[in-house]
């Protein structure tokens, strides 16, 4: 029954793919092999091996040694989103254990799983206590330990983290932990001191653009250099974001037309440069009514206050008409507004407060 159902579905997928795509594109060929056709590019182009991981030399060196047979410390990966933290450890685990053993040797827990103190005490402990053999079923050697991946560890409670401490030490014989987080400061000190810490750097533009181009080639997407530059700028070193933008844009444009910079800006929700310029020049008019109207307009157009804030920051820092002191006053207000926005304050009021400060500095601040 099950085989029948899956068989039926794959035929259906094939038919649909054949109907939807012209046969020339690479995607439809893929689905003719009977593979699932909907794979986000982010998953499809995840590094398969540790060597594929871009730009993070230290980690790669350590993991390579461990692949060659030496021991692995407990790991703590931290860094901004989209730099390859999860990808790295998943690729390493896959290489270490191979596809058969992977399921029994790796326990992956993330914020979407229940992760209170009880889970640490029971599930993690139980898993950690199992001993692991030295060989794979196919006879190849493999390291005699298991890996517990705690993804998004900074959203774990303090209690749950403290419950980890002793478990980590006691089970070193059989288990390695890999904690992944964005902010290392949210991990308690006793845990960080038990791990080898690796910082994942934001990817630089060259690597990003070369990867993006490779993906474009693989998927048959037309894109010009200017659009690539736009993707790089709006993704801020976040590989996942960049790939998401690229895929979304190519979907929106359809198969035939080239991806343009405008569409990428639209997807990224970036406020157009001239719009922002206009806002800043409104500030120098010293007319409160104009400002009020401009801000209402920009909010009505659905731009997010946080986005306006970050773009305004870029603008203010390089603004030549303002003195250093004025800039610092504005930036301080920005910090305050950002915090208020995070707490859920009203966007209109906060933006008004910020821009009236800017206006005050531009017009009366000397």
């Amino acid at each position: 029954m099950h085989a029948f159902l899956t068989g039926g579905s794959s035929v259906a997928v094939k038919e649909k793919a054949a109907a939807a795509d012209p046969p020339s594109s690479s995607k439809s060929q893929k689905s003719k092999d009977g593979k699932i056709k909907i794979v986000p590019w982010v998953e499809k182009y995840r590094p398969k091996t540790v060597e594929d991981v871009a730009h993070q030399e230290e980690v790669v060196a350590v993991l390579k040694k461990s692949l060659a047979g030496s021991d692995l410390p407990n790991l703590l990966f931290y860094g901004p989103p989209g730099t390859g933290k999860t990808s790295t450890i998943l690729a390493a685990a896959r290489q270490l254990f191979g596809p058969e053993l992977y399921r029994e040797r790796v326990l992956e827990l993330n914020a979407s799983d229940e992760r209170g103190i009880n889970v640490i005490r029971e599930k993690v402990k139980k898993f950690a206590q199992l001993t692991a053999g030295r060989a794979r079923p196919d006879g190849k050697p493999c390291p005699p330990f298991k890996i517990i991946i705690l993804d998004e560890a900074d959203s774990m409670t303090k209690d749950a983290q403290s419950a980890l401490r002793r478990t980590m030490e006691r089970e070193t014989k059989t288990t390695r932990f890999c904690l992944i987080c964005n902010y290392v400061s949210r991990i308690i000190e006793p845990i960080t001191s038990r791990c080898a810490k690796f910082r994942f750097k934001p990817l630089d533009d060259e690597i990003l653009s070369s990867r993006l181009k490779a993906i474009c080639e693989g998927e048959g997407v037309e894109i010009d250099d200017k659009a690539v530059a736009t993707v790089l700028k709006s993704s801020e070193g976040d590989m996942r974001k960049a790939i998401m933008f690229l895929q979304s844009a190519s979907r929106l444009c359809g198969k035939d037309s080239a991806v343009s910079g405008d569409i990428i800006l639209d997807i990224a929700g970036v406020v157009p440069e001239d719009r922002l310029e206009q806002l800043v020049s409104t500030c120098s008019s010293d007319s409160y009514e104009d400002l009020d109207e401009a801000i209402r307009g920009i909010i009505m157009d659905g731009f997010a206050a946080s986005q306006i804030l970050s773009q305004l920051h870029d603008n203010i820092v390089v603004n030549e008409n303002l003195s250093d002191k004025q800039k610092s006053i504005i930036c301080e207000k920005m910090a305050e507004v950002d915090k208020s926005l995070m707490d859920g304050a009203d966007e209109y009021l906060q933006l008004m407060a910020l821009f009236s400060t800017v206006m005050n500095q531009i017009c009366h601040g000397n």
Binding site: G8, S9, V11, A12, V13, K16, A20, I36, I38, P40, V42, E43, P81, G82, N110, A111, S112, E114, N118, D151, E152, S155, D238, R240, K241, M244, Q247, S248, R251, L252, C253, G254, I267, A268, G269, Y288, I299, M300, D301, G302, F303, A304, S306, Q307, S340, M342, D343, G344, A345, D346, E347, Y348, L349, Q350, A353, S356, T357, M359, N360, H364
Partner: protein, 355 residues
């Protein structure tokens, strides 16, 4: 008889009145067969929900319009029972997780897992994924948003999310980077006028141009509000009289009177009076941030230049405290008192200058 808002809601992407480029993009997206998670954002009354429903219809056909309301039950780890109502069709399920307050995380985890673990039986006639529509994502707690992160990736094969919110400021970057963001800007005054005219035509009425413009102005670029106002005008008087004022909600008038009271006199006695009026507004379920914004708008009209900036700063400050605090009345009253103090000082300085 249904309201005009519901009656003339466009049902398919082709029939949308504005943002046609976006509609075309959405259509291409659906045709591609591959569908990402969506994050739809924009001010209220801009047509986010309409666009979502149109997209769903484009995906699954008219079957999505057969809706049923269900009560779902969840149990938190601490054995507390939660109940939340969901609206679902055979292909999608819509839920507003912030209804259950800080337990929203449980709802998200359980609900998405439930939906995602069920495969569509017959994939030849349907898409092989279901859609979960989450509304008011910006009101989700941080834990719930974190819970979404990995869930979104894990169940990609069987389940797509459409998130709907007013602003992306309160959505964590990790979620934003996993979704295709769709900005739905509010319709412009012109667009609203046009829609009002066509709707009236379909109803067999004629609406003068000035009248449509007036309604559109008053609605604050909120299409839903514009249509409701227009219908209310129709009930009050037909044929439309452009001379006549468009009737406003009475709480707005009440709020304006309150602002006038504040501006007239600054004394503890007046503050007490204002408190009574603020309570009156709050007990009628006017959201405190709306009251704050309304007051600010009215009060600013009596201030000039430099003072405006100061008042705005204070409004922002007290509104922020209001969001963090428990009882709205303290913060509203603090703002009123602060305004009185600023205004009084300003007046006294003015008098001192004269002598």
């Amino acid at each position: 008889m249904s309201l005009w808002v519901d009656k003339y809601r466009p049902a398919s992407l082709a029939k949308l009145d504005y943002h046609k480029d976006q509609a075309a993009h959405l259509k291409k997206l659906v045709e591609g067969g591959d569908f990402p998670h969506l994050l739809v954002y924009g001010p209220s009354g801009a047509g986010k929900k309409t666009r979502i429903m149109c997209t769903l219809r484009e995906l699954y056909g008219p079957g999505v319009e057969k809706l049923r309301i269900e009560q779902s039950h969840f149990t938190t780890p601490s054995n507390k029972k939660l109940e939340i109502s969901t609206i679902s069709s055979n292909y999608h399920i819509e839920v507003n997780p912030s209804d259950v307050g800080h337990n929203d995380r449980v709802v998200i985890q359980e609900l998405i897992k439930n939906v995602a673990q069920v495969n569509q039986l017959d994939t030849s006639t349907q898409k092989n994924f279901k859609v979960v529509v989450l509304t008011e994502v910006d009101r989700l707690s941080k834990e719930a948003q974190h819970a979404l992160r990995r869930t979104m990736e894990k169940y990609m094969a069987t389940c797509r999310l459409i998130l709907c919110c007013n602003s992306t400021s309160k959505v964590i970057p990790a979620i934003r980077s996993r979704c295709l963001g769709l900005r739905v800007a509010a319709p412009t005054i012109d667009e609203i006028c046009q829609i009002l005219t066509t709707v009236c035509k379909k109803e067999g009425l004629t609406i003068p141009r000035e009248m449509a413009e007036k309604v559109a102005e008053k609605s604050g670029r909120n299409l839903r509000r514009a249509l409701l106002m227009c219908e209310a005008c129709r009930v009050q008087q037909y044929p439309f009289n452009p001379e006549r004022d468009v009737s406003e909600p009475d709480w707005e008038i009440y709020l304006r009177e309150t602002a006038t009271l504040i501006a007239q006199q600054q004394s503890p006695k007046r503050l007490l009076e204002v408190r009574g009026r603020l309570y009156e507004l709050l007990t009628h379920c006017i959201p405190p941030d709306v009251i704050m914004k309304g007051l600010l708008k009215e009060l600013l009209q009596v201030c000039d230049g430099q003072m405006k900036a100061e008042v705005v700063q204070n409004a922002a400050y007290y509104e922020h405290r209001l969001q963090q605090g428990q009882k709205a009345i303290y913060h509203l009253e603090a703002f009123v008192a602060k305004f009185m103090a600023i205004y009084k000082r300003f007046l006294e300085e003015g008098i001192a200058d004269i002598f």
